[in-house]
Symmetry: C2
Subunit: 329 residues, 2 copies
């Protein structure tokens, strides 16, 4: 069994925590607390309770989020310092049966932070004290979000600056429409389940394989552009077990689309691939303007044309000279 992946000791278990039914306690309202609050509201918890005095150290982003709450998440600001041995038990909404989901501490008071951590661990409530690794049951990473898509870069606390730099690299490598593409794939899968609702293992397997074949034909940006008509056209291929790509079903023929279609056909001819875009860097999401083959060939043709023009001018000039000297002789 040497085929098993070797253990990479990252030291962290990366998880997508579901907080939609949870109440989260955030202690503090400075810059770090504002960053925590942003992480939270994107994850859409039931309620966030902020405990912090209302003074000039409150980050403006905290005030902004409180004034512009996002649907589905209740925000409450208790404008006073944290009360030890009371708040963890008292602050929970009366109708909550599950207790506090987690506690995030982001204050300057290191002694108080430590004591809050102890209180939480006593009650088995997961806790994070900003900048104090031993008092964290979990760390936050550098996160990139696009719709339903989220990507976290974690260095297990070793290099936050490098984590942010890698996140920016990753940001460039993820197509603009990735979030939308995920929604569209979800819609296609749901529509297929309506069209073919059978639950026997064979149909489930066939459905999964067809979804894989179809989605692998589409680039992320193409998936993001899949409208209702295109989805219907793709679904029409199900009975005959045909997987249709973007160029097989696209109806709108804008100038950009026509050019894309032309490029698609040329690439298909050159590479012999059904869905080729760049023969060097084969994948449906490849950017043709960064394909070394296309860029290099364009340069080659440009060089060819330039040198030919110069040669033609010289040849013309030379033949005129020869002609002139012949006539003169």
């Amino acid at each position: 069994m040497s085929a098993c992946a070797p253990v990479e000791p990252t030291g962290s278990l990366l998880l997508a925590w579901q907080v939609s039914q949870q109440t989260v306690l955030l202690i503090g309202a400075g810059t770090v607390a504002a960053s925590r609050l942003y992480h939270l509201v994107c994850a859409n918890p039931r309620k966030v309770i902020i405990v912090a005095p209302d003074n000039d150290q409150v980050d403006p982003e905290i005030r902004y989020r409180l004034e512009n709450p996002s649907p589905g998440t209740e925000l409450e600001w208790i404008k006073r310092p944290y009360r030890e041995h009371q708040d963890l038990d008292d602050l929970l909404p009366k109708d909550s049966k599950d207790g506090l989901g987690m506690v995030l501490v982001a204050t300057d008071d290191a002694t108080l932070s430590s004591r809050i951590c102890t209180e939480c661990r006593h009650r088995r409530i997961p806790v994070n004290v900003a900048d104090v690794p031993p008092e964290c049951d979990f760390y936050f990473g550098s996160v990139l979000r696009r719709g339903a898509l989220s990507v976290m870069v974690s260095t297990n606390g070793k290099g936050p600056r490098l984590a942010a730099r890698l996140r920016r690299r990753i940001e460039k490598s993820i197509p603009e429409g990735a979030g939308l593409a995920i929604d569209k794939v979800g819609k296609l899968r749901a529509a297929l389940r309506v069209k073919e609702p059978a639950k026997d293992p064979e149909t489930i397997e066939r459905r999964m394989q067809w979804m894989i074949r179809v989605s692998d034909l589409w680039s992320v940006d193409q998936l993001a552009r899949m409208d209702d008509a295109m989805r219907q056209a793709v679904l029409a291929g199900w009975e005959s077990d045909m997987a249709l790509g973007y160029w097989d079903v696209v109806r709108s023929r804008s100038l950009a689309d026509r050019f894309g279609y032309l490029a698609h056909m040329v690439a298909r001819l050159v590479t012999g691939q059904a869905n080729g875009s760049c023969p060097v860097d084969r994948d449906p999401d490849g950017n043709p303007f960064k394909c070394p083959f296309l860029v290099g060939m364009t340069g080659f043709v440009a060089g060819l044309a330039t040198a030919s023009s110069i040669a033609a001018v010289i040849a013309l000039r030379y033949s005129q000279l020869v002609h002139a000297s012949t006539v003169a002789r």
Copy 2:
């Protein structure tokens, strides 16, 4: 405050969970359980207890991991089915004061899974039942690991296939040595703290700014190659507040390094940048072979050379003809 980032409702809170002090219970030993076990051993928990009968449905990877345990994580396999109302309380090591950290359920028995979930939620133990979102307090995503670096792609359960595809794209965009680079940055920071241990806010700020300036000068691959001598040379710049890059301190002069240095100097001349590698796609980690400017220019020069050669041959041939006809006349 329109400068605040808009809320991206991803629906999940991505966290790097610290399990080094935890005991985790894994119920099941099939393919999904094997994947869960791999996630776990990379995160290095104190102990993993697997509960599953020893039959031919046990994934070979599970047996492999049990035979090749990684240091720091104890693995125990209890070879029988899960016992309701008993195992959650009985299986915990006697010396553990914290209870079970989490429970992962990966069995085919949907009814049993549901009941395990209820038992866990009763005890406030975080639980994940594979493929049953409502019975999950957290999801697993598609994870890429390199040393201390880990990147999770989560689509909040909407498109696992697309998540894996995006993870592969991300994999290509992250330099080989990223994991090592993180370790090296950690070492540099630690060495700086030894050299300048002062804890006054001003020194802390100056130390942070210097680290940022230095690390931004180095590509990820260069950081990965930072050895002890290079680290010392970089640290020597601290007193004079100088940030030194890879080419300022590199001692080894292998052929590849000499070529790299040449390319670095040419890029510096062309772009006027201290650390330029590609004027189109400016960043220290840019791959010069994918730089559209360099590739296009290479093609242009190649085209120029080709056409010039052809022109020269034609010109030579033509002048011979002209010469011959002149002599003949």
